[in-house]
Structures are given as structure tokens and as C-alpha cells.
Amino acid sequence: MKIARDLAEPLIARGSGTGLCGGAAPLRAGIVLSFARMNQLLELDIENRRARVAPGLVNLQLSERIASTGYFYAPDPASQRASTIGGNIGTNAGGPHCLAYGTTVNHVLALEIVDDRGECFTTAVEDLGYDLTALLVGSEGTLGIVTSAWVRLLRIPSTTGVWLAAFPSIESASEAVSAIVGAGIVPTALEMMDATIVRAVESAYAAGYPADAAAVLLVESSGEPEEVASADAAIARIARAHGATKWQAATSADQREALWRGRKGAAGAVGRIAPNYYTQDVCVPRTRLPEMLAAVDDAARKHGIVVGNVFHAGDGNLHPLLLYDKRDARQVAAVIEIGNLVLARAVELGGTISGEHGVGIEKRNGMSMVYRTEDLAAMACVRDVFDPQALLNPEKIFPSGISCREMRT
């Protein structure tokens, strides 16, 4: 950081580069700082259910390394085999199990940060004063560099059930999701995949998904056996009432693993059926899910683009994957257009332009769709306080023309 400052060059923190909004990509000259080798588990304090990690530690490795203790790290982005905890903090990453456990910000207890002058400071949720820990989580490397973090560990639940429900249409599946949440049932995970994704996953992994279903819900519930049993009964009832043609339980750890492998490998599987794809990420109130999915379908159909939906349905967090061929300029234009339509519709429905992937370069202009100038100026003032010379990952998050000066003084 001190070198970057002396050279007056930007510094861009990089975890594994799995980010989907260009967050770790430099736009001009500068230093890209990779944390790939700062990947240690620094301290493990099971008694107090916490661990201190270096930012480059790969997400899944933390849970794998501590599995024998009976504890795990809850945030589990589908990219968890590759993405780092530092990157997850940078984007406030979510994941399938965030429905019950919350996102990264709910699991970070304290941070060690290197600031824009190369000096170190620490923050902790228990600290007196402003919640800088929450501010720094999700700030995409624009306010400081995370050099270590204390994270919460949770006890591995005694019982876990995973079920698969097949639906005749995407509407009926999304209505079932709204009904489950509306009934006050919050399973540990509630993921949805449409026909395009199911077929891609089946041909790649043979995960055991019914290849003829128009939509599949993957449901996980965990806790005590009684709780898992009653979730099973209640969710099955709602699924059937919404036309589910199949309700199948994974009866062994292997089967559970296979069902999840399909979900977590969905993006890779799609890579086999299309030369390129673009992942959109929006979040809407959960009752608006059916409308939002209809809008995605509409826009894709109108522009002749195939769309696959695989997403965190229980949170109302959609990920339409738009399949295209980047050598075809028409398709590229259509995908960009659909992406914008999806953002606009999400905002109309009371939602937001990013549920978990972040703003980065990709959605800078979308910020003005959700926030007014005053709102953005308040954020810009925060940035100005932490990084007045705009050395830390500049040109990210903010649309052009927004600055702190717009606040009245």
C-alpha cells in the first residue's frame, strides 16, 4: 500500500478473482495485490466458537479443516471451492445456506485492516462506536484492505434433511417458494433451478434431478430430528398444493451430497451447453418472485436469448444465466439489454440491483436506479474519509458524477 501511495497508483485487492462484477479487475495501471498465499488459518478458538483467518484462505477449506471439531463456517457461496474469505468479505458474499444463517456480514466478528496510507487498524462488532466492521464488509476493497478476520463458527446441526421437489412450471415452483416463506417456514436452504439448468446439470453430473421437470426446488432443513421431520411434512404439503409432481428425500449423506453437487456445479454445467453466459443477480421481496421470474422470461423470449435460472429462491435472490455466443454482436447487445431490463424490473418490484455479487464495474450505473443522488453522495463521503486520494480500487461502485461535495455544508 505504501508503494502504491508513493507511486500514486491504485491498488486493487484480489482474492481468487471469482467475483462476477469486475470488482478485482483493474481499469487502468496500478497494483493488483493477490492474497493467494496469505491463506492461513491463524487461530482456532472452538470454546468461543470463532476462528481468525488470513484473507486468502479459501472458503471451503475453513469448514473442511475444522470439520472434526463439530463446527463449520456458515457462509457458503456456490464458488466456495475457489473463492477466498477476503473476497467474500469484500463482496459480503451470500450462498444457499444464507437463508437461515445470514450472509458474510453476519459472521464477521472483527477485522484487521490496512488503510490507504499503509497503516493498520482493527474493528470489532463489540467495539464502542460506529459499526465499521459492517461498513467494511461489502465495500469491495474501496475502503481498506482486509489482512485478517475473526469469523464466527457454528455447531454442525445434529440432523440434516435434503429434499427435491419437481414442478410442472416455473410459476408453480416460485409460488411454492413464496408460500413456504409466507407460512413462516425458514428452511436452511431453498434453491430453485429451471429446466435449462436441470438438463445441463444432469448431463454433467447425473445428480439425480428429474430431467423432465420444468423447475426443481432443492430444500434443506437442519436441526433436531423433530424439527427436520416437521419441516419435511409442512414443506411437502405446500409443494404438493402448488402442483409438485415429486417430493423426494435424500436418504443418505451420499445422496445429499449428490443433490448439492448438482446445485453447486450448475454454473460449470451451463458452461458445457453454451459458449458464453452472463449471470445477472437481483433480489426482490419474496412475494414478488413469481412476477420477477415472469419478467425475466419475457425479456429473454422477446430477444431470442435462452435463459437458465438457478438461484437462492428463499431469499428472493435471482440469478438468471443468459446464454449467448460472444462472437455474435447481436446476441451480446441482446444480453446487455435483457440485463438492464431485469435490473429495472427488480427495482420496480421493490428490490435491488445486487443481492450478493456486488457492484464493481458492472453495475455502477445501475446504482442510480436504486438510489438518489443524496443517498449516493452520503456513500461517497464515506469513501472520501477512508480514501481521499482514491487509491483503493478506484472507479468501482459509484456512477460517474457522484461525489461527496454534493452534500450541503
Binding site: 463482496t91 462506536g129 413462516g184 425458514v186 424439527e227 463521503c381 464515506v382
Partner: protein
């Protein structure tokens, strides 16, 4: 006052460099600030439920809404939020957030800030702005809503807060027991490993009138079970067996009274018998909490004051109430405060009556990132008009 009136008042105060204090439920009756001559913005009349779609499990409210009102509204739809503030019929959502209050169920359900998904606020210059929204996942830009948590009204006036709500468990059952001599450590270890996990668990000595249960040689425990009906009886058997193995032969169960008992435990430190008393709360690690409690007890004993202690077994908080006599209390309070902060630097004062308390260190240890906080304060409130007197933010910490 509506948003516009608050905005106008702030713009005017800012232009005239006049200080403004923000009034929530006032559960703290000014413990944390010097008395100064300032305009007051009273947020207590702003208590509307602005947006509540139970099927989305989200709610948006005005910040003057009390914790009790929030609980009642959500309960009608079998939902809840673990605000868990003391004096919930007074404490406002804005005050709870501004004071970064977090309760004894946070290990299980999160802190209020964990469930906060959006807000609207007025800045010192009167600018009205908002952050986040009504969706449960949102990473569009900085999380300003949470930045204001812990700001004690020094960074912005919180007008509206949006939360993600949780489904209300079917049943609540409180387990009370007296601890026979020599069982304390074993009991702690057992309680922290119970399955299902307790929603809250306390160990206490003193607080005879505030907390149910018989005192035991080693104090007593109160453990809250919250679960589905289907699990209640089996979990009760398992818990009793586990506690039995820790040497606790008998537990008393409260079903109808569980909620009232929980509330009494939350309120206990705020109940001061007269003015010659102080309540503190210190965060610590669960593994250190008992030792810290013993160490604080020793300090109070040295001052020959009466004391009550409450330890949050799941989260590690230690709460202490010290009661002195009229003759010597005012004179001893300062020394007691120093001695307690020696052992528990992060201890904060929750409540206290009598004279001279404004000289005490009610916040404890300053944060490592104080410079960053002061820089934010200087940028968001350049003339220092918002809640002046909360000294640590503006560099006047005594």
C-alpha cells in the same frame, strides 16, 4: 415532527451552529452526556409501522417505535425480532440501534444490526437520505444503515429502520435451578453444549427480587428453551439429564411465565434500589466470563458495597449492579469506576442515579479505530451539532 420538519430543524441548527440532542425512549436519562444547552428533537412520537408484509418476513418502522410495540405487532403474525432491550415499553428502535444494544439471544438469532436491512435518516445538514431497502440480501453500495449502529445519535438521525423478521418459535420454556456448591464450571460447559441450543442462558447471584428462583451455594441459572411443540418434551428430558450430569438435581420449569421471567432478566440491571447504585455491562468471551464476574465481585466487595451479578453464558456478557450507602457512595463511585475498568476495560454503564455520575467513564475502552470514527464524524457533522457531549467521538473524552 415529520421528516421534513426534522430536516428543516437540522438545516437551521447547522446553519446557526446550534447543538441538537436526540431523544429516544430516554432509558438512559442522560447518563452518557454532559448536560448542555441544546435544541431537542424528540423522536418518540414517530412510531408508525410503515410497511409490513408478513409473507415477506420484513418490516419497516419509524425509529421512535418502542421495542414492546414492535414485539406485539410481530407476535400477531407469529413473528419476532430479537431486539431484547431492557425497558422495552420505553426503549425505541432508534435508541436500541444507536446504542448498539444486543441481547442474550444474539448467538442464536443475531443482533438487531444483523437483521437490519435498510434505513432512512437525516444528516446534520438536513439532507434526507436512505440506504438498503426491503430485501433480505442487498450489496448495492456501502452498508450505511449498519454504520449508524452504535453512533449514539452523533452521525445522523435515524428516521426509519427496516428489518428482516423471524418466525416465532411455537413454545418457550424457562428452566430455573439453584446450583449446588462446586457445580458452576461444569454447569457452564454443559449448558453451552446443550442440544437444542438454548435461546438464552444466565448465571446469577444476587438480583434476588428481580429474578425468579432460589439462590444456591453456587448461584443459580436460568435457561430459555425456544422450539417447536414437537420437540419440547424430548428436549426437556435431554436438558434435564445433561444438567443432572453436571450435578444439578432439580430444575423448575416455567411455561406460561417464561416470557415474564425473560423480561425480568433483561430489565434487572436497570432496576436500581434508590440513587446510590450503578449498573455496568462488559462484553467478554464465554470462556472468560465467570472469571471476570468473580473478579468484578471482588472489587465491589472491597468497597463494601452490595452487589448483584448476571452472566450471559452463551455470549459472555457480564452485568454487575453495585449498591452503596448514602453516606459514602458519591465519594466512592469514582474509585469504584476506576477499579472496575481496570478489570473490565470495556464495561459500559447501563444505569445509575445520584450525583456526580456524569464524571464516570460510562463507555469504557475507546475503539482502536477511533481516528476513523472521528474523521467520519467530522465529515458528516462538520459543525458538531449532533448530540455533542458524547465526548469520545469529537475528541473531548475526559
Amino acid at each position: 415532527m415529520n421528516d421534513t420538519a426534522i430536516s428543516d430543524a437540522l438545516a437551521e441548527a447547522s446553519a446557526g451552529r446550534r447543538p441538537v440532542t436526540l431523544r429516544g425512549g430516554g432509558v438512559f436519562s442522560g447518563m452518557h452526556r454532559r448536560v448542555i444547552d441544546a435544541d431537542e428533537i424528540d423522536l418518540r412520537s414517530r412510531r408508525a409501522i410503515l410497511e409490513y408484509e408478513p409473507r415477506d418476513l420484513t418490516i419497516g418502522v419509524e425509529c421512535g417505535l418502542t421495542g414492546a410495540h414492535m414485539e406485539q405487532t410481530l407476535r400477531e403474525h407469529r413473528q419476532f425480532l430479537p431486539l431484547d432491550a431492557p425497558d422495552a415499553s420505553q426503549a425505541s428502535v432508534g435508541g436500541i440501534l444507536a446504542a448498539a444494544w444486543s441481547g442474550p439471544r444474539r448467538h442464536r438469532y443475531g443482533r438487531p444490526r444483523d437483521l437490519l436491512i435498510g434505513s432512512s435518516f437525516a444528516l446534520a445538514d438536513g439532507t434526507l437520505a436512505r440506504a438498503g431497502g426491503m430485501v433480505v440480501k442487498n450489496v448495492a453500495g456501502y452498508d450505511l444503515s449498519r454504520l449508524f449502529v452504535g453512533s449514539m445519535g452523533t452521525l445522523a438521525v435515524l428516521l426509519r429502520a427496516n428489518f428482516k423478521t423471524l418466525p416465532l418459535p411455537d413454545s418457550a420454556r424457562m428452566f430455573l435451578a439453584a446450583l449446588p456448591a462446586g457445580t458452576r464450571e461444569r454447569a457452564f460447559a454443559q449448558i453451552r453444549n446443550l442440544r437444542p441450543e438454548p435461546a438464552a442462558a444466565w448465571w446469577s447471584t444476587g438480583f434476588e427480587r428481580e429474578v425468579d428462583g432460589e439462590p444456591g451455594d453456587d448461584g443459580r441459572i436460568a435457561i430459555l428453551l425456544e422450539c417447536e411443540n414437537a420437540l419440547l418434551e424430548r428436549a426437556t428430558l435431554d436438558w434435564r439429564a445433561a444438567l443432572g450430569r453436571a450435578g444439578i438435581p432439580e430444575t423448575r420449569l416455567l411455561d406460561a411465565g417464561a416470557h415474564a421471567s425473560f423480561t425480568r432478566l433483561l430489565d434487572a440491571p436497570m432496576r436500581l434500589p434508590g440513587v446510590h447504585a450503578l449498573s455496568y455491562r462488559s462484553p467478554s468471551l464465554p470462556s472468560h466470563a465467570l472469571a471476570l464476574a468473580d473478579s468484578l465481585a471482588e472489587v465491589v466487595d472491597r468497597f463494601e458495597m452490595q452487589r448483584d451479578l448476571l452472566v450471559d453464558i452463551m455470549n459472555g456478557d457480564v452485568t454487575l449492579r453495585a449498591v452503596g450507602d448514602a453516606a459514602s457512595f458519591t465519594q466512592m463511585a469514582g474509585m469504584l469506576d476506576d477499579a472496575l475498568h481496570d478489570r473490565a476495560p470495556r464495561a459500559r454503564i447501563l444505569a445509575g442515579g445520584g450525583e456526580g455520575h456524569d464524571r464516570l467513564d460510562c463507555f469504557g475502552l475507546l475503539p482502536n479505530a477511533l481516528a476513523q470514527m472521528r474523521a467520519l464524524k467530522a465529515r458528516f457533522d462538520p459543525h458538531g451539532i449532533l448530540n455533542p457531549g458524547i465526548a469520545f467521538f469529537d475528541g473531548r473524552h475526559s
